[in-house]
């Protein structure tokens, strides 16, 4: 790998809420085609780190550089419950300025999303909302994917389907960062990092 292939660079990032130091000088980078896992117990600062990487939060210090389009999948499904599946996709198609929805149907199919486009999202099950949450993060074919507990609520089959899609993104040279409090299969990652008390350490890769 060379420096030119670095797509995600997190440098010296710290974050504090009042006197509570959530992140302490977090530094790591990821290259094209790299799958990074960040594990940590509840309250370790994982979601805060992801929100800073995504650009939702300002760090107290440090910086984040991302080359290319970003796909961000928040832990809780951030979808419009009062709209249908199709209308939710329409909001995000407009946000990403996508001319067509090509690829979206395929993505939904691969995640076994079987609800009708006119189904009201507020009435969907938690797992189905999470599928939509994920589709909204992937539908514009981003170069960098930041996924916060992306398979929360998935059944085993959908969990495996998710990894199939993630592997394809990796093969296409995308950077994928998955954050979770627990990984069933650590061999899926090229790099595994642990966040403990706001400090990021390397656990080694597969």
């Amino acid at each position: 790998m060379n420096a030119g292939s670095v797509t995600l660079d997190v440098r010296d990032v710290a974050c504090a809420f009042g006197r509570h130091q959530v992140l302490r000088r977090v530094t790591f980078s990821a290259h094209r085609g790299e799958m990074v896992g960040i594990v940590g117990e509840n309250g370790a600062g994982k979601s805060t780190l992801l929100r800073i990487m995504a650009g939702l939060l300002h760090p107290s210090r440090g910086r984040v550089d991302i080359q290319g389009r970003l796909g961000y999948c928040p832990q809780e499904p951030q979808v419009h419950g009062g709209l249908t599946v199709a209308q939710n996709l329409e909001w995000f198609r407009a946000a990403y300025r996508l001319e067509t929805a090509r690829g979206v149907a395929d993505l939904m199919d691969r995640l076994a999303f079987r609800e009708r486009p006119d189904a009201l999202v507020g009435a969907l099950s938690g797992g189905t909302k999470q599928k939509l949450n994920l589709v909204l993060a992937l539908m514009h074919d981003p170069e960098v994917l930041l996924l916060d507990e992306p398979y929360q609520g998935f059944d085993w089959e959908t969990y495996l389907r998710f990894w199939g899609i993630a592997e394809e993104f990796r093969s296409a040279g995308r950077v994928i960062v998955v954050i979770s409090h627990l990984f069933f299969d650590r061999t899926r990652f090229d790099t595994l990092l642990r966040l403990h008390d706001g400090v990021l350490t390397r656990e080694g890769g597969a």
């Binding site: 650009g55 961000y72 928040p74 951030q78 419950g81 009062g82 407009a94």
Partner: protein, 251 residues
């Protein structure tokens, strides 16, 4: 930007339309509320002061009760609709901005949808009122009702962006609408003609509605004044909305 604005406007309107509880309130509660007021009041005469003309208008308790009841119900419903819409969409709106949606298009699309919804609610409320008591100047009554509903849409937005929980927000809207419309009603409050009510959000709309429904007293400056009330609260709501959809970094 233009196509994003059109999308934001259309989908925001659909979101408001999909608020089934609000639709139910409009369809059932509003006529039922008119009916209750009508059955609890009588033809006894009561005076209402129109300050713009410095006159007391004498009318029946039926009619005045229905007018204040209409403003009370519509302001409550629209305040609730706006608050609920703003709170439900809070996190998604920020995500949309992160994904590239123009903040200006998102906010103006949403605000335009609230304005159109306010006009439709006002129109519906005046049409149902007509079945109980035909207003003398329906257009004037519609304008006054629109001013009140729009003001409470703006209040709903503002409360939605500043309160932490849904319950606190709903409580504020209910109390505000109750105090605002109840204290102006001489049937329930003998001190309704005191000067202090002039500062209430629905004071000007109430004056327009009463003047247009009960007589030939029409002062259009009051309509513009009620829109100014709505705009002033709306600007505060807009600032809150702007801050809430802020992101640290765009990609």
């Amino acid at each position: 930007m233009t196509s994003q604005l059109a999308t934001a406007f259309r989908l925001s309107l659909v979101e408001l339309r999909n608020n089934r509880f609000a639709i139910l309130l409009l369809a059932l509660y509003l006529p039922a509320w008119y009916g209750i007021i009508y059955s609890l009041t009588d033809q006894a005469s009561i005076g209402f002061k129109l300050r713009a003309f410095d006159v007391f208008v004498a009318t029946s308790q039926h009619r005045l009760g229905l007018l204040t009841g209409m403003l009370n119900a519509t302001t409550l419903i629209m305040g609730f609709v706006a608050l609920s819409a703003v709170r439900r969409a809070a996190l998604v709106d920020q995500r949309l901005v992160l994904c590239g949606f123009s903040r200006g298009a998102l906010i103006f699309g949403r605000f335009a949808a609230f304005a159109l919804a306010s006009a439709l609610v006002a129109l519906y409320a005046v049409l149902v009122l007509w079945a109980f008591t035909p207003p003398q100047h329906p257009g004037v009554v519609l304008a006054g009702t629109f001013g009140a509903v729009l003001t409470y849409a703006a209040i709903g937005i503002l409360v939605g962006v500043v309160t932490r929980g849904d319950l606190e927000g709903f409580f504020i809207i209910i109390m505000l609408s109750l105090v605002d419309t109840f204290l102006q009603n001489p049937i329930g409050n003998p001190a309704a003609n005191r000067k202090v009510v002039e500062y209430f959000p629905s004071y000007l709309p109430m004056q327009i509605v009463a003047g247009g429904a009960l007589g030939d007293y029409v002062a259009w400056w009051q309509f513009w004044g009620s829109l100014a009330w709505a705009a002033a609260v709306g600007v505060l709501g807009l600032v809150g909305f702007w801050r809430r959809t802020q992101i640290a970094r765009r990609h």
